[in-house]
């Protein structure tokens, strides 16, 4: 309807088309942010390279799909968190993964988590790698060992390790630290940590918002 008339639906004053458009765009932004449990759009501090994005999405499609949430108040999502290389020495490398507190505040439950890492091996060699899951204990700021895995790898390329409940719980709390401890010199130089397309990452399937939605309702 033309500006200055009366809105046929609500009887209020009509807006000119430009103001109407502004109002609708603002409504669209609010609606999306609200459904993603975000107060405002995120500012990206560490942009991800297109190569890493492409690699990760290819791997994501390879993961088994989970069951749909039975309760439609919850929302299921998949998160890919790229490793930030933490404190490292010649004998071990630490990988830190962060999961946004927006989601953890709204009630986030990790259903499944896998570590994806790339290995470049000399041909016909096998190497062993110890992977430790370190968690913050409630009483002190030091990281303590929650569990560890022994990996044996005999081929170059991407490898996936399904992480257990300790690692899932750490992701649900928002921060996971993994420590790679190569068993020998070959292994030490084989895990590819850097490079745009080969950054290790954790792919997690998460259920968000059950508690959050009920509280708001």
């Amino acid at each position: 309807p033309r500006a200055g008339g009366q809105c046929p639906a609500c009887g209020g004053p009509t807006l000119d088309l430009e103001s109407q458009r502004e109002l609708l765009l603002d409504l669209a932004k609010r609606s999306i942010l609200d459904k993603l449990h975000l107060r405002q759009r995120p500012t990206l501090n560490h942009p991800v390279s297109r190569a890493a994005l492409r690699t990760a999405l290819q791997r994501l499609h390879g993961l088994p799909q989970g069951a749909l949430p039975e309760d439609n108040r919850e929302q299921e999502c998949e998160i890919i968190s790229f490793a930030k290389t933490g404190l490292s020495t010649i004998n071990q490398t630490r990988l830190d993964f962060h999961f946004s507190s927006d989601r953890t505040a709204g009630g986030m439950e990790v259903q499944q988590a896998s570590l994806m890492f790339f290995v470049q091996l000399p041909s016909n060699t096998t190497w062993t790698l110890k992977l430790r899951v370190l968690v913050l204990s409630p009483y002190n700021t030091n990281l303590t060992l929650a569990t560890q895995y022994l990996l044996e790898v005999n081929a170059s390329g991407w490898h996936q390790l399904l992480l257990g409940p300790e690692a899932q719980a750490a992701c649900s709390q928002g921060h996971l630290t993994l420590e790679l401890v190569p068993e020998d010199q070959v292994a030490r130089s084989s895990v590819i940590l850097g490079g745009a397309a080969h950054r290790p990452f954790v792919a997690a399937r998460v259920r968000v918002g059950g508690k959050h939605r009920i509280r708001r309702r």
Binding site: P8, A9, L24, L25, L27, A28, K29, S31, I32, K35, L36, R41, P42, T43, L44, N45, H46, P47, V48, L53, A56, L57, L60, N72, Q75, E76, C77, E78, I79, I80, S81, F82, H98, F99, S100, D102, R103, V208
Partner: protein, 116 residues
């Protein structure tokens, strides 16, 4: 459902596409390129109340005629133009830790409108 065209005043679905590049969100929303924030608009005179927004069945048509002929005597609230079918919006985006998140937001896109 009926899509709004020209000056139609009856209940219909108004398409409204939000281009994420236009609102400066294309840096953090990887896919899709925009969001069809369609909405329902228009009037629902009593004799088409309860119309599901699709070609009414014969039964509905008779019911509407009865309503129209006895509309004067009826009291009670009007009928509203509301979504009768919706689908989820699948999003792939970066969160503030630069994690990639893939999620389906249920009931975000209005597919059809009708009179309550």
């Amino acid at each position: 459902g009926i899509d709004c065209q020209g000056g139609s005043r009856m209940c219909c679905r108004q398409e409204f596409f939000v281009d994420f590049r236009e609102i400066g969100w294309h840096d953090w929303i990887i896919q899709p390129e925009g969001y069809a924030m369609n909405f329902c608009i228009g009037q629902c005179p009593l004799h088409i109340a309860g119309m599901p927004g699709i070609a009414a069945s014969f039964h509905t048509a008779v019911l509407n005629l009865l309503k129209a002929n006895t509309a004067a005597g009826t009291t009670g609230g009007g009928s509203c133009c509301v979504p009768t079918s919706r689908r989820p919006l699948s999003l792939l985006y970066y969160d503030r830790d630069s994690n990639i998140v893939k999620t389906d937001i249920p009931d975000m896109v209005v597919e059809a409108c009708g009179c309550s």
